[in-house]
């Protein structure tokens, strides 16, 4: 059974412990993210959701444990199925990172560049396309997130919601297999948040991405999530993993049920 379920896992966390110096944020995290999942990292404020994300995108090294990425099967077939991200050599890690796109909490657009330049920079860095090709690609990505015509705006000239969407367009720049989204709907009004959720579903369905989403917006969790991990701040470990729509009904942990029902008594 273990074999079958892990055969299409794209990322695995094994006994992961995260710490800032001596301060342990979370320990003993073990879960699988399957290909084409929309995987939700959820939990109360300050439980280490964003920190966990940093371990997947190469910004923070785990205290103990491993983060495994499925190797690109087209290139080296069956050689070794999983790569230990933090033990791999730098160049290998760089190649893995190129398969990932990241949307940061604040958008993190480069403030000295226009939206089009923000998207063009990574494309120019990793491809041999001509300037005009790159420009067209950047326009396309912006159109995909509903920002057609905003190519020459600077990040400071657009609203927070638009910045998030532009950030998503940049995350899509290198045609990633895996998209990491850090609180995509935080700070957005309900309609924009809903539109972003729809966009995320469309991306998964049409581009075949796997998405890893940090969020505590219940509406989003149920609307898009089909797998999840719940981090608990009190016990400093994960309580459960699975489809949030199932967890809300059948989880044996009261904390998880309370979280998913906004604390309503059953």
């Amino acid at each position: 059974m273990a074999d079958k379920s892990s055969s299409n896992s794209i990322i695995k966390a094994e006994d992961l412990t995260m710490a800032y110096g001596d301060f342990v944020v979370q320990k003993d995290l073990t879960f699988d993210i399957k290909s084409q999942d929309i995987f939700i990292i959820m939990g109360g404020s300050g439980c280490g959701k964003s920190t966990l994300l940093k371990h997947f995108i190469g910004l923070k090294q785990p205290a103990t444990g491993r983060v495994l990425f499925h190797s690109d099967s087209q290139q080296n077939q069956r050689e070794s199925d999983y790569i230990d991200f933090w033990q791999a050599e730098e160049s290998r890690r760089q190649r893995l990172m190129q398969r990932c796109g990241v949307l940061y909490q604040s958008g993190a657009l480069w403030s000295s560049m226009t939206l089009a330049e923000n998207i063009a920079l990574p494309i120019g860095e990793y491809t041999d396309l001509s300037e005009s090709d790159i420009r067209h690609l950047a326009s396309l990505k912006l159109a995909l997130v509903g920002l057609k015509g905003f190519e020459d705006y600077y990040p400071s000239e657009i609203s927070g919601g638009m910045r998030k969407r532009a950030g998503l367009a940049r995350a899509l720049a290198l045609e990633p297999d895996i998209l990491f989204l850090d609180e995509p709907s935080a700070g957005l009004d309900p309609i924009s948040a809903r539109l972003l959720d729809d966009l995320i579903l469309q991306l998964r369905d049409n581009l075949g991405c796997t998405l890893v989403v940090v969020t505590h917006e219940l509406a989003s969790i149920f609307a898009i999530g089909n797998n999840s991990v719940f981090l608990d701040a009190e016990t400093k470990t994960m309580l459960t993993t699975g489809d949030p729509n199932e967890l809300v009904k059948h989880s044996e942990h009261e904390t998880v049920r309370r979280f998913l029902t906004r604390g309503a008594e059953e």
């Binding site: 910004l59 990172m97 990932c100 990241v102 403030s111 990574p122 990793y126 940049r170």
Partner: protein, 372 residues
């Protein structure tokens, strides 16, 4: 509007506190303390709030403190006819248990521990500096091999910001320094009737020392701080993380063009400052001491030789590296808050100026030993 009043009654051995009037932050200051003192001496069991007119959280705070005291003393405190809502608020404040460890401990470290902490922090900072220096060298190596990438437009923008836009302030300061040197020299040399040697003094002092040092200090304050603040803000905004996760080296992309720009601009600014300083000296000598401009100029050219000029330029080049590195490093290592960015800018300027003066001092010692 009535002020707060209270009354303590003793009814068959049951002590009760009765509150009257307004219990708001503006009216109840003295009374709360008095009640608490009273409670510590002889506790009462009942609090009657039936006659309270206006109230706010100062009343709740008083009730909670009394409640805590009562619990510590293993007593029961009964609240009677409290105003609507007040009772609920007291209960609300009591329902959420205090988060373990949320209470920040204020442990006073011993002197020894304090010194140890400081040494360890400084050690780590020094390590960080050398690490950054190493990274910059690696980045330069990549540049030489044609592997480093940054945008030409960024470099042009930084060049214009560190060059032409710095000219007005450099002009002002250099001319003034020249004038000051001329005055200082004139007063002394007049006693020997050797006013013409003011040109030597101003020329050599500007070209060897003041030109590069004043430019360095101006640029540390102007550009070093700007680098640190700019990069620190990018850090707060997660922009640096975004470079990293996209596999674009922030060293190459952000730091390298800034070092390059200052390496190019500092010697040029220094030359300009030298020239204007000498001009400032000439203004005084010609205007106030009766020398002709030609005399002053010939005297200067005879006094200053290529060695002096190159020495100043070499120092300017080194100061350029120092300013760029202290500015960028403090920005890159900045924390992620507004105050951290402020601190980064401050330490960039302080470190820049200190390094510049220390290096200048070292140069003075070495050149005098070598007789240059």
């Amino acid at each position: 509007m009535s002020t707060s009043r209270y009354q303590i009654s003793d009814d068959n051995g049951q002590k009760a506190l009765k509150l009257f009037g307004d219990w708001t932050i503006r009216h109840s200051g003295q009374d709360s303390e008095a009640i608490l003192d009273h409670f510590k001496q002889s506790p009462f069991e009942v609090i009657d709030g039936g006659a309270v007119e206006q109230w706010d959280s100062s009343l709740i705070s008083l009730l909670l403190r009394l409640d805590t005291f009562a619990k510590e003393g293993q007593q029961q405190l009964h609240f009677q006819s409290l105003p609507r809502g007040a009772h609920e608020l007291v209960e609300l404040a009591n329902t959420v248990p205090e988060r373990q460890g949320a209470d920040k401990k204020k442990e006073q470290p011993t002197l020894l521990a304090h010194i140890g902490d400081k040494v360890l922090t400084d050690y780590r900072e020094a390590l960080g500096f050398f690490f950054f220096l190493g990274e910059s060298v690696k980045s330069f190596y990549r540049l030489i091999r044609g592997r480093a990438r940054f945008r030409g437009r960024d470099l042009r923008e930084i060049l214009s910001d560190t060059g032409p836009e710095a000219l007005p302030i450099v002009t002002l300061i250099s001319v003034l320094v020249g004038i000051i040197l001329a005055f200082v020299g004139a007063v002394q040399l007049k006693q020997f009737g050797a006013e013409v040697y003011v040109a030597d003094l101003v020329g050599i002092a500007m070209v060897r020392e003041m030109g590069c040092m004043m430019t360095g200090i101006i640029m540390a304050g102007r550009t070093g701080a700007a680098f640190a603040a700019r990069i620190g803000t990018m850090q707060v905004n997660e922009e640096i993380d975004a470079y990293r996760t996209l596999g674009i080296s922030p060293m190459d992309f952000i730091v390298l063009p800034r070092i390059l720009a200052l390496i190019i601009m500092m010697p040029l600014l220094c030359l300009y400052a030298n020239f204007l300083g000498i001009l400032g000296g000439a203004m005084i000598s010609v205007g106030a001491m009766g020398l002709t401009f030609t005399e002053y100029w010939t005297q200067t050219i005879n006094a200053v030789d290529m060695t002096d000029i190159s020495l100043g330029l070499v120092k300017a080049f080194i100061f350029g590296i120092v300013i760029a590195i202290t500015g960028c490093m403090n920005g890159m290592l900045s924390g992620r808050s507004a105050s951290a960015v402020g601190n980064a800018a401050t330490s960039a300027v302080v470190a820049g100026v200190v390094f510049i003066i220390v290096i200048d001092g070292l140069f003075a010692i070495i050149t005098s030993l070598l007789g240059i």
